[in-house]
Symmetry: C2
Subunit: 125 residues, 2 copies
């Protein structure tokens, strides 16, 4: 069950996703503190994900990140791309590359989550 009404909350949230950078639920709750309740933030993020507008994933410390989907629809979520997290500045974004997963004997693969961590271009050393 996705979005069915164009509410202010939806607009406030979508406005935060102008760039391709991923944002954590926590970050969004902080940014929108004066405008939206945290429950609403979680609920709207959920619905936007159902609708294929955003996709979400976890980083290595267990917090959830959201990013704009490029080619997802309600029925088919295409979020097989890897995500990159800079261990220095903390920023997370989507990588526009394909990772080839080998066949795995005896198992049917449905989804894969790939999180790559390291230093981003601004934090190289």
């Amino acid at each position: 069950m996705g979005i069915i009404r164009k509410t202010q909350s939806v607009e406030f949230l979508l406005a935060e996703f102008q760039s391709t950078e991923a944002l954590s639920a926590i970050e969004l709750i902080g940014r929108l503190d004066s405008k939206l309740n945290k429950t609403t933030v979680y609920r709207v993020l959920d619905k936007l994900e159902d609708d294929g507008v955003l996709h979400s994933f976890l980083d290595n410390s267990g917090i959830r990140w959201y990013a704009k989907c490029k080619s997802c629809t309600k029925s088919k979520h295409f979020d097989g791309h890897p995500h990159f997290q800079c261990l220095s500045c903390g920023k997370v974004d989507c990588l526009n590359i394909n990772v080839y997963l080998p066949e795995i004997p005896n198992r049917q693969v449905t989804v894969s989550q790939i999180l790559i961590q390291g230093n981003c271009e601004f934090c190289a050393n």
Copy 2:
């Protein structure tokens, strides 16, 4: 700072990792409920990870899993292999395969976490 004393807690915990199956912290706390306090479980798991005896990773719902390391040492954690979670029965284990990650422009890669989800051999349909 890893294990420096061979305590009962360490032995109880290691006894659970006979197979290569991964176990969640939650599962272990449940299994060892009569023997160990949950704080102790978390602390010993932590230390065993520091020592390169276990490695840990998160599944897609944010809970942490632990599995025995094959070739890790205190100094170098080799846990670059992918993990497989059966979406039907919930079991998680380590995959003994290599995933080739392409070069990513402008970024230094340190670690990668790959979680593959689908159906295991017993839950194929």
